[in-house]
């Protein structure tokens, strides 16, 4: 069939379809006047070859493992091996969390992911006034190397990779991890894992900042440099859209603000004289898998493509693995409902499918009870099994990027890509992400989107099953929930004061003094932090010295 004839037939077919639609609409209208994705992108009734007419296969999609990586970062994707099933976990004490990690490993998780409590994330020891009531609540309390040794007791750090959700004090926790390895005869170059280390999204959406932007960026680039030389398999940052989306952004904003953060980090490291072909290989990303299935698949594909282009064209990166966007995914916590929590399993399954169709490198699936409390062992198991069912039973893992060529998904991919570029240009115009944050630009955009979503739910325009439709009377008071013993805080404080008695306090003082002096200069802080950690200086002591030198960030409250 010739191209001309094909196009003629298509035109005729389109006209015929239009007439059929008009007739159908006369009989009965559609469910709504206009349809949009979860992220607010208008969607058409039908997508046809017309919608992908401008697509240039090699330029827009290419092959898996090849620029622009739209179709994935590896040639064989999940036919080679599945994504890393990595469940974010940690609560109460190092002992309790160690037990949970060993349980997860025994159940088939393939990587660890450490949740720290808020005092640890904000650089306070468990006996600090600001830590009251918070110790061990949302994660594990780590005050010093002594806790870290217990946390990873009996876990082979040369075989398991570990992700740590730690940002402002990321260097301190990484140093502790390196020290635990060294004590077990494992060299830093053998260690694999990730620290989140993404301070910009803390200012935008997550809130666990400590220091102002400038010294924070210095800590981050110090880590890039230190790891390039000493811990080459470590992902030095996980540039995160997850929390931006959880704070209420749209899918396009999630991609755009995350990649704009990425640009800021790359620029900061280049300004320090580092080579993006080297540190670029260890940049990793972290996205949200939300409810709108097709939009999410398109989002992941678009993110890879835009980042590939940024690295290649904006920064002149030639090393392929430094052009690739590799990412972790977590299903969207904010979509979980406290009402009829069992149905959260279904939401998580759909979101898991989207993450996998989008080509994720690792995945955390949320547990059904997380709108109520931290998850129990039983609910974590269901969450992990959800990944395993998708991996082993669904069949979607046997074909690389199976949605490619779908008129709808390719159109959505293009829309998200273009939308992201528009925001990135706007942020460039504002003077880059640091300046944009100062002006409240991403914060305001996210809040507007989040408020709009809430209005739609309350008007019933957006249905949340079990919440504004299909409700039932429930009595949830007898549900088994995980509880953190309130004595954890006191016990952890006692443990800490005992540890301080048994260490060499002169040595601690010396190492802390070295950190202070180095912080006042510009050379790399990481070797000094590693010395302090080895001497059992606490996280709060190290961050305390840095607070003295760097000062503290004050939130730019936007409402």
């Amino acid at each position: 069939m010739s191209g001309a004839k094909q196009s003629e037939e298509l035109t005729a077919g389109r006209e015929k379809y239009k007439a059929a639609v008009a007739k159908s609409l006369e009989r009965s209208p559609e469910r709504r006047a206009a349809f949009t994705t979860g992220g607010g992108i208008p969607v058409e009734r039908l997508y046809t070859p017309d919608d992908v007419a401008g697509l240039d296969y090699m330029n827009d999609l290419g092959f898996p493992g090849e620029y622009p990586y739209t179709r994935g970062v590896q040639p064989t994707m999940y036919r080679g091996r599945f994504w890393t099933m990595r469940q974010y976990a940690g609560f109460a004490t190092a002992e309790a969390s160690n037990e949970r990690y060993r349980y997860l490993l025994s159940q088939g998780t393939t990587g660890l992911s450490v949740a720290f409590d808020l005092p640890t994330q904000i650089g306070y020891d468990s006996d600090h006034r600001m830590a009251q009531g918070e110790v061990g609540k949302v994660g594990v309390a780590i005050d010093s190397l002594a806790d870290m040794e217990i946390l990873f007791g009996g876990i082979p750090l040369d075989k398991v990779t570990t992700s740590m959700t730690i940002n402002a004090p990321a260097g301190v926790l990484l140093a502790m991890y390196i020290a635990v390895g060294e004590k077990n005869g494992i060299k830093p170059e053998q260690l694999g894992g990730t620290i989140q280390n993404d301070i910009l999204k803390e200012y935008i959406a997550r809130g666990t900042y400590i220091f102002p932007p400038k010294p924070s960026m210095r800590l981050i680039t110090d880590i890039f440099e230190f790891c390039s030389q000493n811990v080459p398999k470590w992902n030095t940052i996980s540039i995160s859209g997850y929390h931006i989306r959880e704070a209420g952004s749209t899918a396009i904003q999630e991609v755009a603000f995350t990649l704009a953060d990425g640009i800021a980090y790359v620029e900061a490291a280049i300004a320090k004289g580092q080579d993006p072909n080297v540190f670029g290989k260890r940049l990793s990303f972290f996205f949200n898998a939300h409810n709108d299935f097709l939009e999410e698949v398109a989002k992941f594909r678009a993110a890879r493509k835009v980042w590939g282009r940024i690295m290649k064209e904006r920064f002149g990166v030639t090393d392929k693995s430094a052009q690739m966007l590799r990412f972790h995914t977590q299903t969207a916590g904010s979509t979980l409902t406290a009402q009829q929590p069992e149905i959260n399993v279904v939401r998580v399954a759909v979101q898991t499918m989207a993450a996998v169709m989008g080509g994720t490198q690792s995945l955390h699936t949320n547990s059904l009870d997380e709108a109520l409390a931290l998850p129990t062992d039983a609910s974590v198991r269901v969450a992990l099994r959800t990944q395993q069912v998708v991996a082993y039973e669904s069949g979607i893992t046997n074909i690389v990027d199976p949605f490619a060529g779908s008129y709808a998904v390719e159109s959505l991919t293009k829309t998200i890509e273009e939308g992201a570029w528009e925001y990135i240009r706007k942020i460039d115009d504002l003077g880059g992400m640091l300046a944009a944050i100062e002006k409240g630009y991403p914060q305001q955009n996210i809040q507007d989107a989040s408020y709009e979503y809430q209005r739609q739910v309350e008007s019933g325009d957006r249905v949340v099953v079990g919440v504004n439709k299909f409700q039932i009377e429930e009595d949830d008071s007898s549900r088994q929930l995980l509880r953190v013993d309130p004595s954890v805080g006191d016990n952890q404080a006692k443990k800490l004061s005992k540890m301080k008695e048994s260490r060499d306090n002169v040595r601690v003082k010396e190492t802390l003094e070295e950190i202070r002096k180095t912080a006042q200069r510009t050379d790399n802080l990481m070797p000094r932090i590693l010395d302090a950690v080895h001497s059992y200086a606490t996280e709060g002591e190290i961050c305390g010295v840095l607070r003295d030198v760097f000062g503290e960030y004050k939130e730019n409250v936007v409402l």
């Binding site: 306070y124 918070e134 803390e202 209420g248 109520l372 809430q454 309350e458 929930l481 409250v557």
Partner: protein, 135 residues
């Protein structure tokens, strides 16, 4: 009259950074005609109580998703008592298990709104509670 407006402090106590809910409810209160003072993150109980007294607030709304609700509710209610400001109503929401709610109400919380509560329900409750209080 502006003087009759309900004045409410929306606060994020402690270290929890989840501020989506706090900001949504703050905006909803504002859109319904209330005077809203949003504290931002990392507030100690002392700071929150201080703000509420200085701002002559009718109520304090606490948003807590970190599991530290027992600690902050009791600390804030206690401080209000000490400052003879117990007429300020304390209420809240966040990730709070249903089985914890009776105790929070017992120690002095006016109401706890769980995830999925429509903002209109919170607004209605607050309007009713404040008008009852003002007599």
């Amino acid at each position: 009259m502006a003087d009759n407006k309900i004045r409410v402090v929306v606060a994020k106590p402690g270290l929890d950074g989840h501020d989506r809910g706090a900001k949504v409810i703050a905006r909803a209160f504002r859109d319904s005609g209330m005077e809203v003072i949003y504290t931002g993150l990392r507030q100690t109980p002392e700071q929150i109580v201080e703000t509420a007294i200085q701002e002559d607030a009718d109520a304090i709304g606490l948003s807590i998703l970190s599991g530290a609700h027992e600690h902050y509710f009791s600390a804030i209610v206690e401080l209000l008592k000490q400052k003879n400001a117990s007429d300020i109503v304390v209420f809240g929401g966040g990730v709070i298990p249903e089985s914890d709610i009776p105790h929070l109400l017992e120690i002095g919380a006016g109401a706890i709104f769980g995830p999925g509560t429509p903002t209109t329900e919170c607004i209605e409750w607050l309007e009713k509670t404040v008008s009852r209080k003002r007599g």
